[in-house]
């Protein structure tokens, strides 16, 4: 069973909730697909059993010794990545989209495209099973491809170690990476918070889950920050027939737990939030099981 936890916007506590689920379940594959800001490894300090290079985007580089300043590349680049400064062609790494057109049309073959290989994919063991996570090199783009690789590695590990449950910590936003993180899962958990913007983002990510016809459950985190908006979200769930899994009060212990590098379940094994999260997790799991059978 694969469960993806996503949130649209950041800061809703998605990763803390994913970590809590892992410590409730105790034996899982944890796939950290929030590759822009993969942080769960800080909490779980997994062993690095395997490190793989990840080949990301490409960018063009120029050999100015071969360049005859014909300006063909500059005229054709649609990304304004090429400029002519002090009688020298300069290609901006930041603006270049890696389309490769300049390299193809350069009459002296002064331009080449180069692959970036600084990003990494790690896998190893942690206290609740196995963990896979990707780390993008600074400035590297998350295209969804790294998310795919993290997930396929997680699949292999799940089969090899006979681990039934994979938890996926999804990336923020609504773009390709999110879609890659939720494709083919058995259930999606949407973590939101009771702010106007949180509510708004929830509606957008719900749309995405619907597009893929994936069963989704909503959790409102920190609901006591604004109980009015929180009940509006609940009412919306009812109206739109979105499964509502539960709500968690705001409590500074969540932050305290994190600063101690513990999950909330470990930090307060008998606390109210722990109880609530267990309830929510078991509820979601039960319902996913019902649906798949």
């Amino acid at each position: 069973m694969q469960i993806a936890i996503i949130s649209g916007k950041g800061g809703t506590g998605k990763s803390s909730i994913t970590a809590a689920f892992a410590s409730i379940e105790k034996n899982v594959v944890l796939a950290d697909c929030d590759v822009d800001a993969s942080n769960l490894y800080l909490l779980f300090t997994p062993t690095h059993e395997k490190e793989q290079a990840y080949i990301g985007a490409e960018t063009a580089i120029i050999d100015n010794n071969l360049c005859i300043s014909c300006m063909k590349c500059l005229e054709n680049c649609r990304f304004d990545a090429i400029s002519y400064i002090n009688q020298k062609i300069i290609i901006s790494d930041v603006a270049c989209d890696g389309c490769g057109l300049c390299a193809r049309i350069c009459p002296t073959q002064a331009i080449m495209t180069q692959q970036h290989d600084k990003s990494r994919l790690y896998s190893g063991s942690f206290r609740y099973g196995k963990m896979v996570y990707g780390v993008l090199a600074p400035g590297e783009e998350n295209s969804g491809k790294l998310v795919n690789e993290v997930r396929s590695k997680a699949n292999i590990i799940a089969t090899e170690n006979d681990l039934a449950i994979t938890l996926i910590d999804g990336p923020p936003g609504i773009g390709c990476p999110v879609i890659s993180a939720i494709a083919n899962v058995d259930g999606v958990v949407l973590v939101t918070e009771p702010t106007l913007s949180g509510f708004h983002d929830l509606k957008r990510i719900k749309e995405i889950a619907d597009n893929f016809r994936l069963p989704a459950w909503v959790i409102i985190n920190k609901f006591t920050i604004n109980e009015k908006i929180s009940s509006e979200i609940e009412a919306w769930c009812k109206k739109e027939k979105v499964n509502f899994a539960g709500k968690i009060p705001f409590d500074l212990v969540m932050v305290e737990a994190m600063t101690q590098l513990k999950t909330i379940i470990e930090y307060q094994p008998n606390g109210t939030i722990t109880k609530k999260l267990k309830e929510i997790y078991n509820y979601i799991k039960l319902n996913i099981n019902k649906q798949t059978n």
Binding site: G8, K9, G10, G11, T12, S15, D36, A37, N39, L42, L43, E58, N76, R78, F79, V94, A95, D97, G98, C99, G100, L101, R104, I105, L136, P138, G139, E140, E141, N142, P172, G173, I174, G175, C176, E193, P194, T195, L196, S197, G198, H200, D201, R204, E207, I208, I225, N226, I229, F250, L252, V255, E256, M258, T259, L261
Partner: protein, 295 residues
Amino acid sequence: MLFKTHGDKQLKIAIASGKGGTGKTFVATNLYSVLQQNQVSSILIDCDAEEPNDHFFFKSISKTDKEVQVNIPVISAESCIFCDKCYEYCHYNAIFYLPSLQQIHVMEDLCHSCGACSVACEHNAITEKKKTIGTVTTYLLSGNYKLIESRVNIGVYSPVPVITSAIKEAEQQGIIILDAPPGTSCPFIHTVNNADYVVLVAEPTPFGLSDLQKTIAVLHILEKPFGIVINKSDIGTLAMSDFIQKENYDLLLSIPFDRSVASFYSEGKIMAEREEKWKEIFENLIDKIIETACK
């Protein structure tokens, strides 16, 4: 106050954070509010095109939409001789090409509008059309202030063209605040690359520190000057302020956690409009930014 006299020079300040939810929008909207309250010529641009939220915080009098379009090739199967060339030039697998069935067309969602296929085609089979990928909305606020918002349509491969058109929309004097998108990839890079100075908003937790370090690594590559605001400064660890001190970075402001602020903010309201104390905090922040940005 320094900033009061800064209205005649252009200064672009990006407010960013490695991750969403650290208070980036809180800082951006409050800063803009104190600039308005002090009648400083300024503008706010919401560059978080995937989830633009700044408009929740300001009452607008009117709004105008401008569509952002890109060029998408159209391939005529009649003129096409199935020579393979455009298919080979396209780096993004955006051309669906099945010569055995005489089928060829562009997958619009995959196309990056690079124009390579048009250059490749020697048989005039490729023309281009416009495709709307998002909207730049200008909200007119009271006192002739403006909020410019970038919003990308769902399924578009990159919000960058929408973000850059929003920033271009604000070619004027004064202080331009860019509410940057989260993360450290292209949308973030293209936003901060347009700024003169970057304000990083971070939370002092282990996750927050790691995000901050990743963001700083990118800013070093871009050679952008920056300063740091620690939000919820009293609920984490000291590791972040130690790090800032050790690296000799500029700490612009520490905002302690205040639960009533969180509730107030959740309703789309601005602290600097409610309490004099917060107004002063953000006035001082702007001064500090200008001081460090211009040094």
